[in-house]
């Protein structure tokens, strides 16, 4: 896939997450009742980093959970083999809590729709919000993010590729084209 350009480097990702952490604390007036849930795969390291930043800024521990949405996908009957299922680990009660979903890229909104179903199967939170590093548009469902790192206008034949140290060994966000090859 030909690279079309770098959207974020390591320092930008870090500054963006710092800003989002501040925005979360500002909007929620602290971290009381707040829990972070990272959507597998790359939402998980982002949620952990946000949790760490919130701890540094405010000095409070925000629980971080991991959610695998594959059991809730709406395309299980149409995609060929089923995706590798990984563990959902939310080892704290979410009833009455403010759940902040974290993912890398917001695109069609179908992943978030599945994540909402997944969360609601686990309890009844007071509210659910969404934080994403990149919003690339092209929504197919009435879903929007509450906290956005960067809005990136894209065409459908492009792809936003997020790499994170915990998964890929490097921090970067790139726009890549899929049409050329």
């Amino acid at each position: 896939m030909p690279a079309k350009g770098r959207i974020m480097d390591e320092a930008t990702i870090d500054r963006t997450l710092t800003r989002i952490a501040h925005e979360i604390l500002e909007k929620h007036r602290g971290c009381d009742g707040l829990v972070l849930v990272g959507i597998r795969t790359r939402g998980v390291p982002l949620a952990r980093r946000l949790g760490e930043k919130i701890r540094k800024i405010e000095g409070c521990e925000v629980p971080v959970g991991l959610l695998d949405i594959n059991l809730y996908r709406d395309d299980l009957t149409t995609i060929s083999d089923h995706p590798i299922l990984r563990k959902t680990e939310i080892p704290f009660p979410i009833d009455g809590q403010k759940v902040l979903l974290v993912d890398d890229v917001l695109f069609t909104g179908r992943t978030i729709r599945a994540a909402l179903d997944g969360i609601i199967d686990l309890g009844r939170p007071r509210l659910i919000q969404l934080a994403v590093l990149i919003d690339r548009g092209h929504r197919e469902l009435p879903i929007r993010a509450d906290f956005v790192g960067k809005n990136v206008p894209t065409s459908l034949d492009e792809k936003v590729q997020v790499s994170l140290k915990e998964e890929d060994g490097v921090d970067s966000v790139d726009l890549v084209g899929m049409g050329a090859d």
Binding site: D68, L71, Y72, L76, T77, T78, I79, S80, D81, H82, I84, L85, R86, K87, T88, E89, D117, D121, L122, G123
Partner: protein, 318 residues
Amino acid sequence: MRLQSRHLLGIESLTADEISLILGTAESLAEISQREIKKVPTLRGRTVVNLFMEPSTRTRTSFELAEKRLSADSLNFSASGSSLSKGETLIDTARNIEAMAPDFIVMRHSMAGAPHFLARHCRASIINAGDGAHEHPTQALLDAYTIKQKKGAIAGLRVAIVGDILHSRVVRSNIFLLKKLGASVVLSGPATLVPLGIEHLGVTVAPSIEEALDGADVIMMLRIQLERQGKGYFPSLREYFSLYGLTEERVGLAKPDAIIMHPGPINRGVEIASSVADGPYSVILDQVTNGVAVRMAVLYLLAGEADHAHSAEERTGH
């Protein structure tokens, strides 16, 4: 990574990677059974027929629970009280069930190869829930899951399997699986109940239970079917227990942290002493719990395979 077949007919045809995929998926699904709402929508709208032509409570209820937790619709056929006991042939039964367009058929049958026969004649994915003395793949998978859960890994372990080797499909599936994952297997039982040539499967046969248990990490006891008594396999249940029953004294021959398994239902005082079955090393009830997660994993992965097969057919114009 995916399964190569849309059926689960036995362990023999699976690769070590496929077995690990099933066990890993089961690990991810186990969490659902601990939720307050023990259900996910994954197999919504899929139909599973549980075709049990031999009595079974444990395996059938375990499959049923797995199906319900994944939101599949299931219906049960059993040998008694249906056309199966009225002389219908297997192929006619299969055609009738097929006409209802199920996505899965879970089958238990007294004849080895019956599920394989069904797999050749049905569009549904077939899951073997035990065929004669041949295979019982989901039992071996849940045993492996339990061993992995308690011991961390399977490679390098010494597993002793004791009892009626001759009539046991559980043993055959377990031998295939444990060998593929790198464990060593030693068998023991009355000479009349150990088939000649079983060593060709890569196992050793110990002349006594004591030698089989010596240094074992895992002790797997097999059920002595009480109806076998009086058929000349062994003189009496009391003698069987004195020679092959698992007593606390015999457990002492195995490694200090050995686990004790049994596919159930257990005969207390025949193949296993009550104090051992209820003792601290027994994982018999963990096996039952894990059975649901393992069967959920099999259904989840095979559902993906069935879609794969259908979309391939559509592409080629079927």
